[in-house]
Symmetry: C2
Subunit: 217 residues, 2 copies
């Protein structure tokens, strides 16, 4: 069974997955890097950034699940680019010439563009589709493997609301952002379909996993 | 130094300290007892309710700090009574003839009434005052001891926004309430003045403590 999984999705204590305003210079607005410092410090991130060092505790254990058994990613328009990237034909995402996905990536946007192939194994497809349609297409591309839902906030919320997410890994960072885009809106009763676990890290964050009943396999 | 402390203040994952609508029949609205099951299960609560049993783990350790070294409580109008209690001269709070405070209690309301003495050591004073004024009066009553801020949500938020809280113990319950009264609104950057710790419990809740720098003594 191919699962839909969310990994390393950081939110503030007050539930914001990004600050505001989001821009090309500040993708997370006034949150800056604060939601992701725990991740940047891990060995997993160190290897991804070619830095070659990092922490190896619980933060790294969670972070490194990101790519395990993943055959495709779905992301929202706000993860692929800054507000308005659709008007910039040169925009190819935040990640430079060698993006870290190494699978097909399906970008949800109301203004699709042609397929973008980068660095051999990063192929970006642009879809104007509902969550369920996008998941069907991504599952086909992933074969036997799972599909990762990469964010941003509204996309995770939409897929949760549609009942499509099997595994949700949130990282609660002990800051109060006060403003931005909130994950939880419209998700009353979400816990009913999941087993919820909390694990704190010495870094100060709390890892929160939602595992759908029947999705352990 | 007399501290202002909040204990056993439960919120949902999405930050609601109560559901809605609040009424005499349902003080926490659609949340029912769900925010407080962890507490009701403790030995501390068992003793308070005359039940004589309960859990003795981390939930009980936190819960039982509620009365330690406390000389007065401040509570908001919504903790003392249902919406509209001010029009009910017979209303004496939720707690029956023997309230569990055993100190002076200062109830913030724009419609004060005379002092209410119950069961000898529960004396309710009704104040129309700002947070800082109420704290000054309560500190005087508490003598050398600390003052507890009892809730509800808006009162805790107001005192946090005014920078008056020295110790804040939140209990994050793994449910998504979706609606009610949210603690975090208007508290951007709250973490800057505090050391924040997270401790999970086998019951599923996460205890979150904010300790103000310099307030350990």
């Amino acid at each position: 069974m191919s699962l839909l999984r969310v990994h390393n999705f950081a939110i503030s204590l007050d539930g914001f997955g990004t600050g505001e305003p989001q821009s090309r210079e500040a993708p997370f607005g006034h949150a800056g890097q604060r939601l992701h410092e725990w991740m940047i410090a891990t060995r997993w991130a160190g290897e991804m950034f070619g830095r070659g060092d990092g922490t190896t505790g619980v933060d790294d254990a969670f972070a490194s699940q990101h790519g395990q058994g993943i055959g495709a990613e779905i992301m929202g328009s706000n993860k692929f680019g800054y507000p308005g990237w659709q008007d910039d034909p040169e925009w190819t995402g935040w990640w430079g010439p060698n993006p870290p996905f190494h699978t097909p990536v399906f970008v949800l946007t109301h203004r699709p563009r042609p397929v973008l192939e980068m660095d051999g194994d990063n192929v970006f497809h642009f879809l104007d589709a509902t969550p369920a349609e996008a998941l069907r297409v991504a599952r086909e591309a992933a074969g036997e493997l799972d599909v990762r839902l990469g964010g941003g906030v509204t996309v995770v919320r939409d897929f949760l609301a549609a009942g499509l997410v099997d595994h949700l890994h949130l990282v609660v960072v002990p800051i109060v952002l006060g403003r931005g885009v909130r994950l939880w809106d419209g998700l009353e009763g979400l816990e009913r379909d999941y087993q919820v676990e909390s694990v704190p890290s010495p870094s100060g964050v709390v890892h929160l996993t939602f595992t759908r009943a029947g999705a352990e396999a």
